[in-house]
Symmetry: D2
Subunit: 347 residues, 4 copies
């Protein structure tokens, strides 16, 4: 058996720990050999939690001091481009969390660095590796529901995102931070690129939670026309409070398919006939996509071991960013926006 892929995790926060858990406990072909975080507390805590002694406050330091093969980037979006390019220029393969970056220019810089250095790039669209989504895509590709005509995808997250993730200046807001998965999976399952989008937003909870970020919204509804004539819908709500909800419905010219469900563990209880049956709901995204996170990391290390491009890479990440930018322009200017406007604006 080949030696495990040596991975440095950049970002010791919540998403970082999910990937650390995968690498330490579930992906035998990968080894978590180092940890980078500029916040010492998180660095020490996460390092101790997963038994990783090689801890660094910067990627530069890790590149200088440690021998490794690849990085997993889980830091805030505005840092992705710099970190990815630095790692790639250092010869490391890159797994980057979504959103890929803030702009198409940044996306292009990452893609070019990947090509320039001959290193692999995988985006953190774990839905593609979640067993039910993977099985669904395979069945759609096999023609089971015919030509996809309409796809609807939703991500509703329980809690208020951190300040940087709701400010259009430091992220691209909820459409990016929460709904990147929907941008990716609608395009993936429809088998076509978005051509035109229209977006409505609403802000119901911001004021009560002390959010005064300009253009903040906690509800978003996206209408998509795809290049193949198909239609798409994305909805985002964050904070929705009621759970972590990620589901897709797709109708083809031969049938309908529902992917995912709200129900968590199959335990149904009734103790009061006036209340009814109670079943757990998924509370968080690590619960909901437990296998998806494991399988995407397996795929990353296996891609490195075999030198094969990952199934989901820079082009996919870039399309999701393009959708976000078009969608944001749409609700700011209150009109449908063609993707062409966004794609042609790249320097």
């Amino acid at each position: 058996m080949p030696a495990p892929v040596r991975i440095v995790l950049i970002g010791a926060g919540r998403a970082g720990r999910v990937h650390a858990n995968s690498l330490v406990n579930h992906v035998a072909k990968g080894a978590l050999v180092g940890l980078v975080d500029s916040v010492p507390g998180a660095l020490e805590e996460t390092g101790a939690m997963f038994g990783v002694d090689a801890r660094f406050t910067s990627l530069e330091e890790a590149l200088y001091k440690l021998d490794f093969d690849a990085v997993v980037i889980t830091t805030p979006t505005f840092t992705h481009k710099a970190l990815a390019v630095m790692a790639m220029d250092g010869g490391k393969h890159v797994f980057s969390e979504k959103p890929m970056a803030l702009s198409l220019d940044e996306c292009d810089a990452i893609i070019q660095a990947s090509e320039r250095n001959g290193v692999l790039l995988q985006l953190g669209f774990m839905r593609r590796f979640s067993p039910e989504f993977a099985a669904a895509a395979e069945r759609i590709n096999a023609g089971e529901i015919g030509q996809p005509m309409m796809v609807k995808s939703l991500t509703h997250g329980p809690g208020l995102p951190p300040a940087w993730a709701r400010d259009l200046k430091t992220s691209n807001g909820m459409l990016a931070e929460v709904n990147s998965h929907d941008w990716d999976c609608t395009r993936w399952l429809m088998g076509s690129n978005p051509e035109r989008v229209y977006v409505e937003v609403a802000n119901f909870k911001g004021a009560a939670r002390g959010v005064d970020t300009p253009n903040f919204y906690d509800n978003v509804l996206v209408n998509i026309r795809f290049e193949n004539g198909g239609l798409g819908s994305i909805s985002g709500i964050c904070p929705c409070d009621y759970g972590y909800d990620a589901r897709v419905e797709i109708v083809g010219d031969r049938g309908v398919m529902q992917i995912g469900e709200m129900q968590g563990l199959p335990v149904v209880v009734c103790t009061n006939r006036d209340q009814g049956l109670i079943t757990p709901i998924y509370r968080t995204w690590p619960e909901r996509f437990a296998w998806g996170y494991i399988h995407e990391m397996e795929h990353f290390v296996e891609s490195i071991q075999t030198g094969t491009p990952p199934k989901v890479g820079g082009v996919d990440g870039r399309w999701a960013v393009a959708g976000v930018l078009a969608g944001t322009k749409s609700f700011l200017e209150e009109r449908p926006v063609r993707l062409r406007e966004i794609l042609e604006a790249v320097v």
Copy 2:
């Protein structure tokens, strides 16, 4: 169109009102023309509720004063035989609630009266007319799951039965009053008669609810061997408090089938991610079998109009009583009891 079948309802209580509602609101071919109940209050109240002015305190009086075609009997079990025979000897068709009677002798008296007078007899096994059970039976008969091998049926009812219905002297206890439907539908779906039964009972709630009836039980579990070699299970819990629960699972040599579900209206709500998804449960039997009660009454009046024997009659009611008697003997004597012992004991 033929004139509606004129029906007198005997028993103005809860079950009576369910049938009155069917006849008045949903079965155009039937007309509720009279009401009999020995309790004046119930008689007046139910009569007013359904606009029935012809009210009687005895069946004799109704037979003497009113012109009608058939009776629906919903009084306590120990009255069934006398009422049914009297109605039949008066030339009336009979729809009798379950259990048919207290003993096989009583069942035989009813069956003989039906034959003697050339009138029809239908038993109130409404499951057979509930759309999902009817569809299931049709599919089983068409061979969809192959030869039935094992059938499990449960009825769990929310509230404590009335005193007469839990006393082995005036009814045959829960096995009869609650689980008659299971005795009937296991035999019906298995397509074979029970050959041997073994029963265990338990009493968990009686004491706290002031029940000191001898041999009272609120939990029962029946093991059945059918004549065709198939196996069956019946469970009864009453009071179960949590709702009205009536479900069947059947496995054939080609597949499995589940019939019925606990969920009532399809409304799923989550307002607290620590609690989970909430869906209504069926609270009562009139809710659960709303269409079954309508369709069985339609079948009764159509059988009368066309002179055709109802799909479920005296023989079916008698087998359910035989099962109850064998089951009761089993738990009292703590041994498996063959149906033959019961059937051969008939005078």
Copy 3:
């Protein structure tokens, strides 16, 4: 008990038979006393089916020859205004199928005729009377999920609509003929009027089915902003072939609610582990809304008997038409359309 409300049914086609069935078999307070259809064959067939001997080829004739209280209109949309106004001017209460009419002017003419003649007007939005929708609305009104923020409603119908119903000249296409229910129930459940809509359409099946109607579409996706700031989505697919699918999801600031489901009868079967579990799907709208059709007719006759305005009337029908007109303008002009544009254009 008051005498049954005497009703003449106008339109002896499929929808007509659904209401005839309700009146004849399930709504004791209503009597179907006459039938009007300009197509003799349908008139005779439906008349015979429900035992209605008073049959007319025009409403004029019925008004002239028969004594009755109300009409139920189930003819094509382009006839609604003339028939409703004629019936009302003849002093009859009107139950009108959806869509109410082709234009707001027509809607206004109907509303005015209702007021002028002091007769009642009910629209055929049966979802409001379907038990799960009624229960859901009550729970939303009671605050269970808090302030509604986002509502999604879909209607996917199995078969190709008739020619008149897909031509923008004689109906208003699918948005009206199929999705009227969604226009009504999103507004109803959100508790607010639509303010702005954006619509994308697609045509995937038309060509293969020989449809060359200009502007024909078989997929539609509507994005709505409501006056209260809430968001809405409507999707329509017709023909979808896979069944009759009508579901709603609504998220409030305190929780989520799903109303309706695809599953028909609760019978789950597995006969092949490579295929999986199979459950019936609703095949048609009369199946799906069996109780809704009964309860809306009960409501109509009870409203007449008590002289109370029905819960869903002309204003509701008019808003649905306004939504349809705004939506149609949106996809034709490829831009968001404010309802104000439509409402202010009324003569």
Copy 4:
């Protein structure tokens, strides 16, 4: 972090590979260091599959040549006692697949070896570690459904067991090989030991599959009375062909709980409205209990690392064997059998 627990797997067949997969890919605290199987082909194939070079044709050889901490035994039941005692006498901790052994004498020999050598013993009742069962048990213990009154557990397996596993001489038949999990989990969830059992069996498929083993049965239905007065039911069907089905229902004096479901991946499809909705079913036990197998192995290595007795050990395994023996006696002698008869018969 402590060094991983070094484990030798005995039995390179299907169950062995499930545990090998857990140890190699998902249980970082455990290391699969050696493999034992008397069949050279299986040994080489499984060894290659998991990268285990230390391969032995007997446990003796492994004990002699390799340094390790514990064994996982997945060989046929009739070998368990000898292997477990040998491993324990060699100072190794033991994880044993179910059934624990063929007789209570054998169980006692294993328990005594464990005590004599101060080594740990865990039984392979993976349901206890499957997230939904673990959560359910915790909630029952917390009193959510009150005092358990009735528990029903089923295991239906798709394929015909191997010859040794259906012969009462070399195993204890289906009640042991398939339903051990039900014997354990009914006792566990009821919180009480079985007191009396009654069993009916049937043979529907044996002949067609060429099985002429004496007393072969492919359907079994067990009725249990527990020491605390509660009732239990176990059903087994093997081969059931339709999938791998493992579900439990339990009713307490305050409510009902369903644990597990047939549905596998949440992907619902409809492509034909006459057929209906299709959802995957669990096809095999490794799929159904994917997390249960991982978590039970985690528990085993953590128990060894911390020197704590596993949550499920020799006493639990012995009770399951006692139930099997009583149940087998019951159907052979066609009478209820008290556990006391079995327990007191031990030499």
